[in-house]
């Protein structure tokens, strides 16, 4: 159990700078997910915490102690790799006991810890098998077992589910989360999959091009994305965004705000910033669009029923100015491709971003 702090972390490979001064704190027992598109520097940041990459500038602290110059093995952290990195010539038991063996731990204690970890992860019957005799999910569990046996201050996960098929990924996601709830060990988890981030994290750190775009709980990021990048990265299907101009009439409590775009006025509620006539990006999540008898007209292009939900691909306007929107509704619809539907929009659910920098207004 430990806290982790990043202070103005920079990383450069020769002249190429990949991380530009990142700083944030992780509380004791917290599950933090670093998420971002590939090449954003999230894995590099994790590997610096692990001690597998040099830190170009800044400090990393574990339990308020600077660990920059500490070897990996002395940082008391355990890592689960994307490729599992199990030792192919050792049985599951030996794989899990390896770190304790290196520490010359008491044989009885080692056996106890391995058995305990095996029980937590249901690995009991597999202890005497070799990695090549295991399925992907089982290997993943062994890799986690190897980390648990260490009883480290911090768990690091580097895209641990990327090599699994979709179904198994969902199952392992729940398993990792349950494991964290049980062990309450501080965890840093790297993924490029925003669904993984949303479902597992206590807090998400969204990274992009070597900087932090936003830090927050999953729902904070979903409900109040700080900028256009986060808005479009978090959520699936991703947010509908299009360009418009801010219209503000009246002042004070009686003022009304809307964005004129695609030939209609799109309502906005509770917007503090922004001035009349400002160019903006208007965003609305697919689930926040609802069908109504009257409102903004749109043409149905594709209907995708999934049973519980139906996804509609809509188009507003035609030709070069046409804009496609996605709408997700509960239940089913009679709408057919080619039909015209009307959209009702709750202004409180709209997101407005500056047309220049993309910051939330």
């Amino acid at each position: 159990m430990a806290t982790v702090s990043f202070r103005k972390i920079e990383k450069a490979y020769g002249p190429v700078k990949v991380i530009h001064g990142i700083g944030f704190d992780i509380a004791d027992g917290e599950f933090v997910v670093l998420v971002g598109p590939s090449g954003c520097g999230k894995s590099t940041l994790l590997r610096m915490l692990a001690g597998l990459e040099e830190i170009t500038a800044g400090e990393i602290l574990i339990d308020d102690k600077v660990v920059n110059d500490l070897e990996s093995k002395d940082r008391d952290i355990a890592m689960v790799f994307q490729s599992y990195a199990l030792y192919p010539h050792m049985t599951v038991r030996d794989n899990m006991a390896f770190s304790l063996k290196l520490r010359k731990a008491d044989a009885r204690l080692t056996a106890e810890r391995v058995d305990n970890a095996a029980r937590i992860l249901n690995l009991g019957p597999l202890l005497d098998r070799f990695p090549k005799e295991l399925s992907g999910g089982q290997r993943q569990r062994v890799a986690m077992g190897r980390a648990i046996v260490r009883d480290p201050k911090v768990f690091l996960f580097d895209e641990p589910l990327s090599n699994l098929d979709a179904k198994l990924r969902v199952a392992m996601r729940a398993e990792i989360k349950a494991l964290h709830q049980r062990l309450k060990t501080t965890t840093v988890y790297v993924t490029h999959d925003q669904i993984e981030a949303m479902t597992m994290a206590d807090r998400i750190v969204v990274m992009h091009d070597g900087i932090i775009e936003q830090i927050g709980t999953p729902l904070e990021l979903y409900d109040h994305p700080g900028n256009l990048f986060v808005a479009q990265f978090i959520g699936s299907p991703s947010m509908n965004v299009f360009d418009g101009v801010l219209q503000r009439e009246g002042a004070g409590a009686t003022s009304t705000t809307a964005v004129s775009a695609l030939g209609s006025l799109w309502p906005v509620a509770g917007l503090a910033g922004g001035s009349h006539g400002q160019k903006v990006h208007y965003g609305i999540r697919p689930g926040d669009l609802t069908l109504a008898d009257a409102g903004i007209a749109a043409e149905v292009v594709v209907v995708e029923p999934t049973g519980a939900e139906t996804e509609l691909l809509l188009q507003i306007g035609s030709g070069a100015t046409a804009q496609q929107l996605i709408l997700v509704m509960h239940g089913r619809t009679n709408a057919q491709p080619g039909d015209t539907v009307h959209l009702a929009i709750d202004g409180a659910k709209a997101h407005v971003f500056d047309g220049q920098g993309g910051q939330r207004l």
């Binding site: 001690g51 597998l52 070897e71 990996s72 093995k73 490729s83 990195a85 290196l102």
Partner: protein
């Protein structure tokens, strides 16, 4: 469809046999000839028959009991061959493994240069270097010492072995090293507990290669060693031909004995030889 496939298969098989049978004969006829000589009596050895009239094992008895002038030191020379081959195999293995580990896994500075230099040594045929090697050994006062041959053979075998092992270890995933480092392994523990066990197939292949290279060596052995008690069996075999009436049947019997260990070793480790020596040869 299946018929066509079968025809295609048969045609492929036929082509392989067409190449395979001549190659097999090409390889086996000399060995059969050697065997024929070895079980023939002295007078009938060159009779040209496909099977001797009175096959005999007497030649082997003469060899084993050293009952001929040329065979005075047979057992000693066989042992010399064995000792030198094993020493070369072990030393080369040690050097090549350490070099490959340092260059491929620890990423020491100058690793690339070492690899290029290793490759460069093969631009010059070993035979060209025989005289300089002789001079060098004489400078060190190692002439007529078996260590001169051992060192020379290690020099010749190492570069290739370093290349093979480096290629093979490049194929081990780097995450294994990182996982071991995080588990608390020092470089030496990484070497012993993770690297070596995973390299076994390549190590067997490379060890066998250098061992057989030393076992089969004639030129350097002939040059660097001259005392009858120090030379290897290959040199002793060469000495059979120094007389006008060489005892062919004894030469061939000794040769057959000399050829047996490499055949046995190769047969035992053939699984590793093919896989190990071609590891990293192509991008997989």
């Amino acid at each position: 469809m299946s018929r066509r496939l079968t025809l295609k298969k048969i045609s492929l098989e036929a082509q392989l046999l067409l190449v395979g049978i001549p190659v097999l004969l090409w390889t086996l006829v000399p060995i059969y000839h050697m065997f024929l000589f070895a079980i023939s009596e002295r007078d009938t050895a060159t009779s040209g028959r496909l099977w001797p009239k009175n096959p005999t094992l007497q030649n082997f008895e003469i060899v084993f009991q050293k009952k001929h002038f040329y065979l005075d030191h047979f057992w000693q020379q066989l042992f010399n061959s064995l000792w030198i081959a094993v020493a070369v195999g072990a030393l080369t293995l040690f050097i090549a493994t350490c070099a490959a580990f340092a260059i491929s896994r620890l990423r020491v500075r100058g690793g690339r240069t070492v690899m290029n230099l290793a490759l460069f040594t093969y631009f010059i045929p070993a035979a060209f270097l025989a005289v300089p090697m002789y001079k060098t050994m004489s400078n060190y006062g190692l002439l007529n010492n078996q260590w001169s041959l051992i060192l020379a053979m290690v020099t010749i075998a190492s570069p290739y072995c370093i290349w093979v092992l480096k290629q093979a270890s490049d194929k081990l995933p780097l995450e294994l090293d990182e996982a071991a480092r995080m588990d608390g392994a020092s470089p030496l523990q990484l070497f012993w507990l993770v690297y070596l066990p995973l390299m076994v197939p390549s190590l067997v292949a490379v060890g066998t290669y250098s061992l057989l290279l030393a076992w089969n060596e004639y030129l350097y052995a002939f040059l660097l060693l001259s005392n009858d008690k120090d030379v290897t069996l290959s040199v002793a075999l060469g000495n059979f031909l120094s007389a006008d009436d060489s005892p062919w049947e004894l030469l061939m019997a000794t040769g057959l004995i000399y050829a047996a260990p490499p055949a046995a070793i190769y047969y035992t480790f053939k699984r590793y030889m093919v896989g190990g020596l071609t590891a990293g040869a192509v991008k997989s």
